[in-house]
Subunit: 123 residues, 2 copies
């Protein structure tokens, strides 16, 4: 059973964290996404944290988790903090396969998506 | 003359900031992107900062700048910090039209892009 765990930075603003939950729900509803469950977690400022996100995957019956760092650039959170957390999770769940994908900013459609975003006016 | 200003968070890691420059270059090379110039700037930790990014737009001959907050969720940086910086920029450049787009995380293709990202393995 395959799980997708989306790890976002997290914010002190609840509405920003709600956005991440909403995005995870959108992914969950994407047909043929390839995952039985989609969970989100936060590095800082919000719950569930990464360890609890992994726990949720396991409790849902996942045997394999693909972790997506939902970050636009590979700063310290992507290069150091998330791998460190996952290393700890692997020790706690030796039976679980944890795959780490590249961070979100490397998707091929990024430039096209920025042009799309620029057309979405505020207010 | 129209400019696109991509505002990223900025990192202490130079390679993360280089990613943003690379993304801005990709947008610049995207055909029919609708902008004469594409500039990037950082909220924290790196140069150019937002004021200097706007200055670069003006020095390049821009009369209208569309600002894209290159952030995945509308935390304090999107809701408070960027608008505050832009308010100051508007005072310094009263002749310049500054449009603020929604933040990057609201693009329609976000869920599909996360699934794409999950397939991009590390290592």
């Amino acid at each position: 059973m395959k799980a997708l765990l989306i790890i976002a930075h997290g914010s002190r603003r609840k509405s920003a964290n709600d956005e991440i939950e909403n995005v995870a729900n959108q992914v969950s509803q994407t047909q043929s996404n390839g995952y039985d469950i989609v969970i989100h977690a936060f590095l800082e400022f919000a719950e569930p944290d990464i360890a609890n996100g992994i726990n949720q995957c396991v409790e849902s019956g996942a045997t394999e988790v693909t972790v997506v760092p939902y970050f636009l650039a590979a700063g310290s959170h992507v290069v150091r903090d998330i791998p460190t957390e996952l290393s700890s999770c692997r020790k706690n769940h030796p039976e679980l396969t944890i795959n780490l994908s590249q961070h979100f900013g490397v998707i091929n459609s990024i430039a096209k998506s920025i042009v799309e975003c620029a057309q979405m006016k505020t207010g």
